[in-house]
């Protein structure tokens, strides 16, 4: 079999965390990467970094806020034109805002929905449409183990990720017939700004290690991949806990 290589990729949510690590790994492999995020300085740094490592890769920065869906179609077309193609799209934008135990802050909650879910719909819809027409391409969405269960601690973060998982599954069912891959990634705890200072972390892996696993899974065209893989068993157990017990647990 031919080893799958991507010549061009788009990473949304590229300025930090897993997104930035993915951009670096792709560029180091010789890929031309469009990096989309709000923060220009971080994007410029990535572009400079890619220029310094060699290997034929390239990072092109694009400023955009994923909470503004109306600007996506035109930017998406600009990016495909600039890259001269598009083989891989990764939606890595995500926020987890701190929520107190009995806090009901709708503005905060909807912001998470906008970034984690609505933004994914805005960016992955044109990607799926394009890939289906061209009968090729890979879409990767970065979900979370947190989307597997509705926990009392962060209702809407869980909801946004669960929604993302379901959206990705539905996309996959739409485009699989055209040979397009849609990969749902469910990371556990990854050492990024998002998890900084959170209590009770375990099995913490670096963003770079997460990116490495994600790209391997994407290359294989996996359906759902836990990162690292041991989370699959943990989440199988957690998903199996009956609701009347789960609500009594301190998770």
């Amino acid at each position: 079999m031919m080893k799958k290589t991507w010549q061009t990729a788009l990473v949304v949510g590229a300025s930090s965390g897993i997104g930035a690590a993915l951009v670096k790994r792709l560029a180091a492999q010789g890929c031309r990467v469009a990096a989309v995020a709000r923060r220009s300085e971080e994007l410029e740094n990535l572009a400079v970094w890619a220029g310094s490592v060699g290997g034929g890769g390239e990072v092109r920065p694009y400023l955009a806020d994923v909470r503004e869906p109306q600007s996506v179609p035109e930017l998406f077309e600009t990016i495909t034109g600039d890259l001269g193609g598009l083989d891989l799209v990764i939606y890595a934008a995500g926020v987890m805002l701190p929520v107190q135990f009995e806090e009901y802050d709708t503005a905060k909650d909807l912001e998470m929905v906008q970034t984690n879910l609505s933004g994914a719909v805005a960016w992955l819809n044109p990607a799926a449409q394009r890939f289906a027409r061209l009968k090729r391409g890979t879409i990767v969405g970065i979900g979370s183990v947190a989307g597997d269960r509705g926990r009392s601690g962060s209702p809407v973060y869980n909801t946004s990720k669960a929604g993302l998982h379901t959206y990705l599954e539905a996309l996959r069912n739409r485009v699989a017939r055209y040979g397009v891959k849609v990969v749902t990634i469910k990371p556990g705890f990854v050492d990024t700004a998002m998890t900084k200072g959170l209590p009770g972390l375990f099995w913490l892996i670096s963003a770079d290690r997460a990116a490495e696993i994600i790209l391997t899974k994407a290359r294989k065209g996996a359906v759902t991949a836990y990162v690292p893989a041991r989370w699959r068993l943990v989440m199988l157990i957690i998903r199996s806990i009956p609701s009347f017990i789960f609500r009594r647990l301190k998770v």
């Binding site: 890259l83 193609g85 598009l86 394009r130 027409r133 090729r136």
Partner: protein, 469 residues
Amino acid sequence: MLSADRLEWVGGWGEVLGGAGYVFRPSTLQGIRAAFGEARAGGVPVALRGAGCSYGDAALRAESVVLDLSRMDRILSWDADAGIIEVEPGVTVRRLWRYVLGDGWWPPVVTGTMETSVGGCLGMNVHGKNNWARGTFGEHCLEFDLMTADGVLRTVRRDEDRELFNAVVGSFGMLGVVTRARIQMKRVNSGLIEAKAVSAPDLETLLRLTDEAKDRWEYVVGWIDAFAKGRKLGRGLLHFARHLEPGEDAEPAQTLRAEAQDLPEDVLMVPKSAMWRLLKPFTNRSGMKWINRLKYLSGATLGEGAIYRQTFAEFSFLLDYVPNWKRIYRPGGLIQHQSFVPVDHAETVFRRQLEACQKARQPSFLGVLKRHRPDDFLMGHGLDGFSLALDFPVHARRRDRLWGLVRTMAEDVVDAGGRFYAAKDAAIPGEVYRASFREGEIERLLALKAELDPGTVLRTALGDRLLGN
């Protein structure tokens, strides 16, 4: 913004190169203008595409408007007395010969497949197996209409606008869109040709026999077993053919019917549509080595010296015998490298090419030899010499090595004063390609392009690569 609904994967015929294109398939001049308009509004270039038979990247460009002219396919007029046909660019060679044959005419130059379009044949200035005798496709075109990227239409006549005519024909769609062409057909007395097959045990003999045959036979084509080594290097089979003289065919009315030309439905009792699946298991070095060896040995024994009659279609369109034969090269696809080398250097250069391929463990699965004559087109590939076309399977892992091999072979061709042919190319580096031209020729093309297409709207992946855009 261009509509995502127009997106399609637009690939080269060899299935190696390709990209997403915003495809427009106009059927009118107005439709072509509209496509140019949308490209301008979207800020992207326009790549011209005919039937998509070019092996490499000639009829595509990623993320650009791809102007597919296959629906501009009307036959506008036919003068059966003078043998002059007037067609739109999407008319294929298949429709051309089927249309004129019944009146006793045949296209003077045809490609090895009949699926090519007239627009593509002019853009690439294709040649056939009779290049020595009849020149290129463009030499039989009397005039054409050219639409430039600004939508302006002008008629270009060979006799009156020789310079522009000779620049547009063969410059792979860089100057404008040919929207109509008048082409002179050739008178024939029968739908049959007389062919002769001979074998040559080595390259020197193969070239000598080709050269000896070129003035007695209109069509001369050689097949080379690119696996043979040592003393047998360059061994092959030659096929010569000529049209029949009046009276040689007892029933010309029968053989001149288009239906009488249909290619056989079966090849060796296998339905031809299934043939490529049967060949697929042999599409590797050892399988192809045996196929080439068997073909040579059977030709050299059973077929040696045979003189026989064939229909034009059977002789001309070898590539159409096995539909979709290129699929045997999946998933990697294939590229072809065709070099044109002056007579004096042909043997040395081709010998080095065959040896280099074998040494690199990239032997060509199919080698074809032809005899050529010079032409006066600006981007012409004709010269007084021979051409050797080599088909290579592409494997992702060995791709860089194959491209390197092509570069080495191409540099050697340039040193020998040789030339290349855009329709076949996928891998020649631009600087090597440009070095094959005489001083001022590329500059002349670029000057004409600056004049006719000041916005550099017309671009293809091949044009970018070869002209260094």
